[in-house]
């Protein structure tokens, strides 16, 4: 008996195929209906001779050892099951969990990837995450729509789109767009080396938490996981214009003797009516449930390789994990409209949210390895791009790697160094567990500080993280002395320190309890006040100010400033740096704007000089002077053999005359090689245009 449920499902499917009821089969076999029911439900299995008779009656093939025919059968019995409306008349016009987030690609990347990291299977290897954007048009679009039985879905989508609610309006727009443009963007998120959607179809487990339930955070390693609200998965559905997501999972623990290609789809619509039947909204795409107690329901099935290819759900590697296919993916923030923009936004969001998880050291592999690819009708548009943390956040990544490699210093003395300091966090005891006299256990957080990279957007801020190196807050330290060279800093708390132990676990739990659903700060929360002793908020406040103090200690310098005199006077006596304070503008006098030159065969310099003149009512009479540039001291003058006006001026002996109102003049000068103190080829030449001296003006 390899897997009892397998036979039951085969039998259920074949009964349907043959159009026979359980009672009819029981009569044909001379048994009670209860016996047949027990086989289908998997509570029992018939003897071999009975099995043969059943095969004959149903004119079907017995399930093979590799289960191919049962699978093929399941592929044929696919259907959409729409949950009937609540009998109490309640109506949901949308998924509240999905409304908790903006349907923004960066939020999706953050939430979906965080879930993948939290489900990491082999803790010595990174979780692989692959985002694939795929636009379908023409026949590719049609074959995909027929694979997901779009024809059966349409009436439901159309009906839901007719209502007045917010969800319906955007659904209406999405359906119109599909009809007009005949194109659909799929976004597939694959993870590898993650646990996959393990567990039974309806009872507690990963599968049910993701597919069947809302607000259920069923996380394997909940102690260090990022989220604790189970909201994150809603972003998958929120990113789809139709609320439609298909799932293919490779399980890490066999279910019904299978691990590969557990497939199901889920559609989140608002309440709607089709042909006078009311539906609650959600619908599932799967094989028809054979358990009589759940009649009509769609359940996940073990799909064929062909089927997952048709559904765009084929996984490139055998490693466990899950693929989510978001049908009609869009960026609701409107930042990213084209495929290229969406691709870039995904890369940027992954780098911003998970640079820390993607950093590895000599001994420690990174937690995450992320890639983004973009296709159109199976052709590559943007080839696979690995998200490199060192490219997007060089200084922060360097800081973390130095910590992992134990390559930090106490005091910064070079631009590429990373200073390591300790920030104490006092963890308030849980209610009723405090000893009364101590404030709580001490947890040493790690503060890493490094000089900022040139393009840093987070300079002079401390990135605070915990757990699987999840960024919680960007803390801006106060009282950093003005003029402190820009720095970048990372604070690692709880498990992010890489340490283990009760004190680490307690600190992790304490900090998580102090986070709101957005996980973006450590502050007052209901959980914090209800489950921890008094003083928790004060401890957090002390924690923040000791971060500030430690940062100041690392970057700040002792204030050596001598008495520099009254400020009011100092302000008036600033020797401004001319290059900073004064942009090169045309001043009150003509000046050489551009100079171009070469040495000709005779050794003479031939230079083309462009002069810019300010607005003036009088003409300018200038004497161009050529000099050879030297490193220091007086510069030798070289004489002209010829001056030729090109534009906006007239040559007048040694002088150039620019008429009133003319703003630009160009002339060519040729030097006399006999006056060159060195060979022209070895000199640098410059030309000045002072006012004619002593001449008539």
């Amino acid at each position: 008996m390899t897997a009892p449920n397998r036979y039951g499902r085969w039998l259920g499917a074949n009964l349907q195929q043959a159009g026979m009821s359980q009672a009819q089969l029981a009569i044909a076999l001379g048994l009670t209906r209860a016996a047949v029911s027990a086989w289908i439900a998997g509570r029992a299995e018939p003897r071999e001779e009975l099995k043969e008779r059943i095969v004959n009656i149903l004119e079907a093939e017995l399930p093979q050892a590799d289960d191919r025919s049962a699978i093929a059968l399941a592929d044929r019995n696919l259907q959409w099951h729409h949950r009937p409306a609540h009998t109490d008349g309640g109506r949901e016009y949308g998924n509240a969990a999905a409304f908790a987030f903006n349907a923004d690609l960066s939020v999706l990347a953050r939430e979906a990837t965080q879930n993948s990291i939290d489900e990491r299977l082999d803790h010595n290897a990174p979780v692989g995450v692959h985002y694939t954007l795929h636009e379908l048009t023409n026949e590719h679009l049609e074959s995909f729509l027929s694979a997901i039985q779009w024809g059966d879905l349409s009436p439901h989508l159309e009906s839901a789109a007719r209502a007045e609610q917010k969800v319906s309006r955007s659904l209406r727009a999405a359906l119109n767009e599909l009809a007009e443009r005949q194109s659909l963007v799929l976004l597939r998120i694959d993870d590898f080396n993650a646990s996959g959607l393990n567990g039974p179809e309806y009872e507690n487990g990963n599968f049910a938490a993701v597919v069947r339930r809302q607000l259920d955070s069923h996380k394997q390693s909940v102690s260090r996981a990022g989220g604790s609200y189970g909201l994150g998965k809603a972003t998958l559905w929120a990113t789809s214009k139709y609320g439609l997501v298909l799932i293919n999972s490779t399980l890490s623990e066999p279910h019904d003797g299978h691990t590969e290609r557990r497939v199901i789809g889920r559609l989140d619509l608002p309440w709607h009516e089709v042909e006078e039947t009311a539906y609650a909204g959600p619908a599932w795409f799967g094989t028809l449930e054979t358990d009589p107690e759940r009649e009509g329901v769609s359940r996940s099935w073990w799909a064929t390789e062909q089927m997952v290819r048709d559904l765009h759900l084929d996984r490139s590697k055998a490693a466990p994990g899950t693929s989510f296919l978001i049908v009609g993916a869009h960026d609701a923030s409107g930042d990213a409209e084209t495929l290229q923009e969406m691709h870039d936004k995904l890369v940027r969001s992954l780098a911003d949210a998970f640079w820390a998880a993607m950093v590895g050291g000599k001994a420690a592999a990174p937690l995450l390895d992320a890639h983004v690819t973009t296709l159109r009708n199976h052709e590559i548009v943007v080839s696979e791009q690995r998200v490199d943390p060192h490219q997007h956040h060089p200084a922060l990544s360097r800081a973390l790697r130095a910590y992992l490699d134990d390559d930090t210093v106490e005091t910064l003395t070079a631009a590429d160094q990373v200073a390591h300091a300790t920030v104490p966090l006092v963890v308030t005891p849980r209610k009723g567990k405090g000893s009364g006299r101590s404030k709580g256990a001490l947890h040493d957080c790690v503060l890493l500080v490094t000089p900022a990279a040139d393009n840093a957007t987070t300079a002079n801020r401390v990135i605070c993280m915990r757990g699987n190196r999840m960024t919680i807050a960007e803390h801006r330290p106060r009282e950093i002395p003005l003029g402190t060279p820009p720095f970048q800093a990372v604070l690692l708390a709880g498990y992010a320190t890489g340490r283990e132990g009760t004190e680490v676990a307690e600190a992790e739990a304490f900090l998580r309890a102090s986070e709101p659903p957005e996980h973006d700060k450590w502050d007052r929360t209901e959980e914090l006040t209800s489950s921890y002793e008094k003083g928790a908020l004060t401890r957090l406040k002390e924690f923040r100010s000791s971060i500030d103090k430690t940062v100041r200690g690392v970057v700040g310098q002792r204030d050596l400033e001598r008495n520099r005199g009254p400020k009011v006077l100092r302000e008036l006596l600033k020797l401004d740096n001319p290059r900073v304070s004064r942009p090169p503008i045309v001043q009150g006098a003509p000046s050489v704007h551009h100079l171009q030159g070469r040495v000709d065969d005779t050794g003479a310099w031939s230079v083309t000089v462009t002069v810019k003149a300010p607005e003036s009512e009088d003409p300018w009479l200038l004497t161009p002077i050529a000099k050879f540039d030297v490193r220091s001291g007086g510069r030798p003058t070289v004489r002209w053999t010829d001056l030729t006006a090109v534009e906006g001026c007239r040559v007048d002996g040694e002088n150039i005359r620019i008429e009133a109102g003319v703003r630009q003049a160009i002339f060519v000068g040729i030097t006399d090689p006999a006056t060159h103190p060195v060979k022209g080829r070895f000199a640098r030449i410059l030309v000045e245009v002072p006012k004619a001296r002593g001449g008539a003006e």
Binding site: Q417, G565, Q587, I685
Partner: protein, 326 residues
């Protein structure tokens, strides 16, 4: 304006970064190096007698342009100079990967006084001539020997001193002045006398106070600034180096800054060096020198905001008269 050479030079950007600084073999805190300011501060209170500072450098050059161009035997030189002492030290950097060049340059304390410049020069062979400059940094780093904070901006020293009984005996000759300006030093210095006008220095240092106090403070500051700018200008235009044709050269250091800010107000219709030539000529032959004085006063007055503070003061007096007509 950049001088022109007879061979192709680099268009792409050349960058120089100071990675770390050590004084006599001991590393300084990295806060002494400011990349955005491009300044290094070497002064340490308890270590005045050091001998040499070693700067570790990293330069980046436009590697593709260099590969595609006609230059051969490319090398990068770090150059430390200080105009005042005419010191010049160079160090050859070694080629790293991806267009970076690494190395270090030593700065000898004895050869520098106040602020040295550090720049990068890219040298190559072209048209069969070796050692030609083909590029360099746009903005030099400042290596400040007397500052403990890496700040590019400089200001005038302001020293509060008791002229009559203080430690500086030469100040006694000016014991009745409220302030004096000394431009003979490396950086101009304003001495405020703590004893000639009782309470003046305290008033200047205060930040709060009544409206009258504020006005007086600002007026006194403007007066001092007026004197300082005038003295600095006169000091800056004397003893200038000249080109062969008699055109003065800009002097460098603080004098350079003073001339660049004030000359456009003193002689508005000439370029800087041309204006310097004009001042030099008028000073030596005396023609027009007195007119120039007026222009200098005007330029100094603009820097010290004298007119603005006076306007505020007059308005305030007028308003208090309106309030109390007796």
């Amino acid at each position: 304006m950049k001088p022109v050479v007879s061979y192709p030079t680099l268009i792409g950007e050349v960058d120089l970064d100071v990675l770390s600084v050590a004084i006599d073999g001991q590393d300084l805190h990295y806060s002494r190096v400011s990349k955005p300011e491009r300044t290094v501060a070497l002064h340490e209170v308890d270590r005045a007698h050091w001998e040499s500072a070693r700067l570790t450098l990293n330069a980046t050059v436009p590697v593709r342009e260099l590969d595609e161009g006609a230059w051969t035997n490319v090398s990068c030189l770090a150059v430390v100079t200080e105009k005042v002492t005419n010191a010049r030290t160079t160090a050859v950097l070694t080629r790293g990967s991806h267009g970076t060049w690494l190395g270090s340059v030593d700065l000898c304390h004895a050869r520098h006084v106040r602020r040295a410049s550090l720049s990068l020069t890219v040298v190559a062979e072209i048209d069969g001539v070796g050692g030609r400059v083909i590029g360099g940094t746009e903005q030099a780093w400042f290596i400040d020997l007397t500052a403990s904070k890496p700040v590019r901006q400089r200001d005038v020293d302001i020293v509060e001193e008791d002229f009559r009984d203080g430690p500086l005996a030469w100040l006694e000759a000016f014991k009745e002045s409220a302030w004096i300006v000394d431009t003979s030093a490396e950086i101009p210095r304003v001495y405020l006398n703590t004893t000639a006008v009782e309470g003046l220095v305290e008033l200047l240092n205060a930040s709060a106070g009544s409206g009258e106090e504020k006005l007086l403070r600002e007026m006194a500051a403007s007066q001092i600034a007026q004197d300082a700018w005038t003295a600095m200008f006169h000091s800056a235009v004397s003893n200038l180096d000249k080109d062969e044709d008699g055109t003065p050269l800009l002097p460098g250091g603080w004098r350079d800054s003073v001339l660049r800010t004030m000359l456009p107000d003193v002689i508005p219709d000439r370029q800087l060096t041309d204006a310097l030539y004009e001042i030099e000529r008028q000073r030596s032959d005396g023609v027009g020198w007195s007119e120039i004085q007026t222009r200098i006063q005007y330029a100094a007055g603009r820097r010290s905001r004298l007119a603005r503070t006076l306007t505020a003061a007059v308005r305030s007096v007028h308003q208090s008269e309106v309030r109390s007509p007796q």
